[in-house]
């Protein structure tokens, strides 16, 4: 327990590639944040994230409310004891609005998702998400950086060095890759290819999720891919408009989730479900089985904390559902 009267809200955003945590105060100001890779182990990364955040804070602050978002939001919600579990579109929009109440367009590109959110008068009025195609998301850039043997951190800088972008077919990740190889073999320098790639991805994004949307300024660009200055440049040259990358672009989902928890508490004050900072010390165990009750053959997932069943889901008929 802390002596201060200050209230703190925790937001956890677990996506395919990264896990982000943010702690905000009652006036929605960011106190501390953590950005780590999920590496396919959402449970471990939530525990690890909490541990790092705890160390960064140096003391166990009282959490008045906790929120979870991201593609693993349901699981995360159970692990941390979230008071509110909400989708990442709402979370991102709220975080953007906090940093710029005038924002009209939010471009968010994460590990496997890309989204566009259209905001008018501080209200989300339209959004779109990539459907069956992940071309142009973080995972793809990651892969290409790996292939070209360039640390992903330097990717954007390299793109800026080029003033002669090579045109790359950006419609499909696989074809973009073969096109890149072809251009390399023709002898084009790496930075021209990288710039071409950034432009192809921006184009692909605009014709995919951005299709038919009216893009007004201010435009905010966030999510892991916003770290790539080459991508920002590519969007700016495509849209012929300024694109703002907010300071905390990589943890906006977590901030939004914390804001949701804060708003929820302001409207309906109650004791938080937040487990405790000791989450990282607890023993979580997930297991699964196939239900043979009918020909739907649902895949059931069970989550145990210190060997006690805390959640179970996955059946269409919901007969197995347990939520702590």
């Amino acid at each position: 327990m802390t002596v201060s009267e200050e209230k703190y809200f925790l937001g956890v955003d677990v996506g395919s590639i990264s896990t982000n945590l943010a702690l905000i105060d009652d006036s929605k100001e960011l106190i501390e944040s953590v950005y780590i890779r999920t590496e396919g182990k959402p449970v471990d990364s939530v525990q690890n994230g909490i541990k790092i955040l705890r160390e960064k804070l140096g003391e166990d602050l009282d959490v008045t409310g906790a929120g979870a978002t991201g593609s693993a939001r349901k699981l995360t919600g159970v692990l941390i004891g979230a008071d509110i579990v909400k989708n990442e579109i709402t979370a991102h929009a709220l975080a953007s609005l906090h940093y710029d109440p005038d924002v009209q367009t939010v471009i968010e590109i994460g590990g496997q998702d890309s989204k566009i959110i259209i905001i008018r008068n501080c209200i989300v009025v339209d959004f779109a998400m990539n459907t069956v195609c992940a071309a142009g998301t973080g995972s793809f850039l990651d892969m290409q950086a790996n292939r070209l043997d360039i640390p992903i951190e330097n990717f954007g800088e390299l793109a800026l060095q080029s003033d002669n972008a090579v045109s790359i077919a950006g419609r499909c990740t696989v074809f973009a890759e073969s096109d890149m190889i072809h251009k390399q073999q023709l002898g084009h320098p790496t930075h021209d290819i990288i710039k071409g790639l950034c432009e192809a991805l921006a184009r692909n994004y605009m014709s995919n999720v951005g299709k038919g949307k009216e893009i007004r300024s201010p435009i905010m660009f966030q999510g892991g891919v916003a770290a790539n200055i080459g991508m920002r440049e590519a969007f700016e040259s495509f849209l012929q408009k300024e694109v703002i990358v907010p300071e905390h672009y990589d943890v906006m989902g977590a901030i939004g989730s914390a804001i949701l928890a804060q708003e929820d508490f302001a409207k309906h004050p109650k004791q938080s479900n937040f487990k405790s900072w000791d989450i990282s010390e607890m023993d979580f165990n997930t297991s699964g089985f196939e239900c043979d009750g009918c020909s739907n053959i649902c895949e059931i997932v069970e989550i145990r904390r210190n060997d006690i069943l805390i959640a179970r889901w996955g059946s269409r008929c919901r007969k197995w559902d347990v939520i702590d």
Binding site: N87, T90, I123, V132, S295, C298
Partner: protein, 346 residues
């Protein structure tokens, strides 16, 4: 006793037009003394069988139809797969439905016999009398007694009429629904935290009523405290009114209902949002979808969410979209309410 055991078993796949004409068909065959076996609700197994077997180019719903037929094939003496082109003079149904029986036969040679009467009022001038004659002839397989057959036909028509009367509402009922004086579907689960929302759920009857292909969107909306109306329920007169606004004639009958419903609510603004369920690779759906999205862009007051379903649809992504859409509607209402009260204080 022996009479009961020798009942002819007729199998009807629970897919596509079953969701429109189940009462008509089941009553007809039962009255003829047949045992009617309807395939179970779509399951993962049915879907897997369907996707494995069906031609690539078919839409998801047509693929599922084949899965349902497979589920029935070993339990019945006949499969009932009508070659149905549509019931209106000017408008057509889906051309794929006319070929279902033959496509199935070409894929699976060892099927039970298929009853496949042809009816297409728009194309070959099939008349209502013609339909009665066809049904009368079809009935001969089950009974030679002409009176039983005539009775089966009239009772089937009556059952269908009752079904449609209870399904399709009149304008007065619609008004009462719009004013929250009545509920037309499952009771939404209300939560004191949330405001009740009204959403028009639009799509083909075989998508709206099949929880598997629509990823159970109706239960999801119910859980989110959303009160829905479906395009199937809309008064015909309002649909036709909207269709008259178009400079061209949409000749796909089912699409008229879908597009008409969307256009009606975009104009009347009596719902908070519209969700349009589309099926991947359905031609008419893609046309109606495009027209709908253009109308929605002209007047953006009522948000429209278009979702495309197929066997590859990820449940997580779909849920995220639906949840975000409901959130968006709810937050915009809350904001407006705050704004209005603020004005009152001034």
């Amino acid at each position: 006793m022996s009479k009961l055991e020798t009942k002819i078993r007729v199998g009807i796949p629970r897919a596509l037009l079953y969701y429109k004409y189940s009462d008509l068909w089941i009553t007809f065959f039962k009255e003829l003394g047949a045992e009617v076996i309807v395939s179970p609700k779509t399951t993962k197994k049915i879907k897997d069988d369907a996707v494995k077997l069906a031609p690539d180019e078919d839409c998801y719903s047509t693929k599922l139809y084949f899965g349902h037929a497979i589920a029935l094939k070993d339990q019945v003496d006949f499969l009932f797969i009508p070659r149905y082109g549509g019931r209106r003079k000017k408008y057509v149904g889906c051309p794929k439905f006319i070929g279902l029986a033959e496509v199935l036969q070409s894929m699976l040679p060892e099927l039970p016999d298929i009853l496949m009467p042809h009816y297409n009022r728009g194309m070959d001038r099939s008349t209502r009398i013609g339909l009665v004659i066809k049904a009368f002839r079809l009935g001969k397989i089950f009974t030679k007694n002409p009176i039983t057959r005539i009775r089966a036909i009239t009772r089937a028509f009556r059952a269908q009429k009752i079904h449609e009367r209870s399904l399709i509402i009149d304008e007065e009922t619609l008004n009462r629904w719009e004013n929250s004086e009545t509920i037309l579907n499952d009771f939404p689960i209300y939560n004191e935290k949330y405001k009740a929302l009204k959403i028009a759920l639009v799509g083909h009857s075989y998508v709206l009523n099949d929880p598997f292909s629509s990823l159970d969107i109706r239960s999801l909306l119910q859980e989110y405290g959303v009160d829905i109306i479906t395009s199937e329920q809309m008064p015909r007169i309002l649909i036709e009114k909207q269709m008259a606004r178009l400079e061209y004639d949409i000749y796909f009958d089912y699409e008229r209902e879908i597009l008409g419903t969307i256009m009606h609510f975009l104009e009347s603004k009596t719902v908070d949002g519209i969700i349009h369920l589309m099926i991947f690779s359905c031609g008419p759906d893609s046309i109606a979808g495009e027209i709908a999205s253009r109308f929605s862009k002209r007047d953006t007051t009522i948000p429209l969410l278009q979702l495309v379903f197929d066997e590859l649809t990820g449940e997580a992504g779909m849920r995220t979209r639906i949840e975000a859409f409901v959130d968006m509607l709810r937050r915009s209402i809350e904001k407006q309410t705050v704004f209005l009260t603020a004005q009152v204080h001034i």
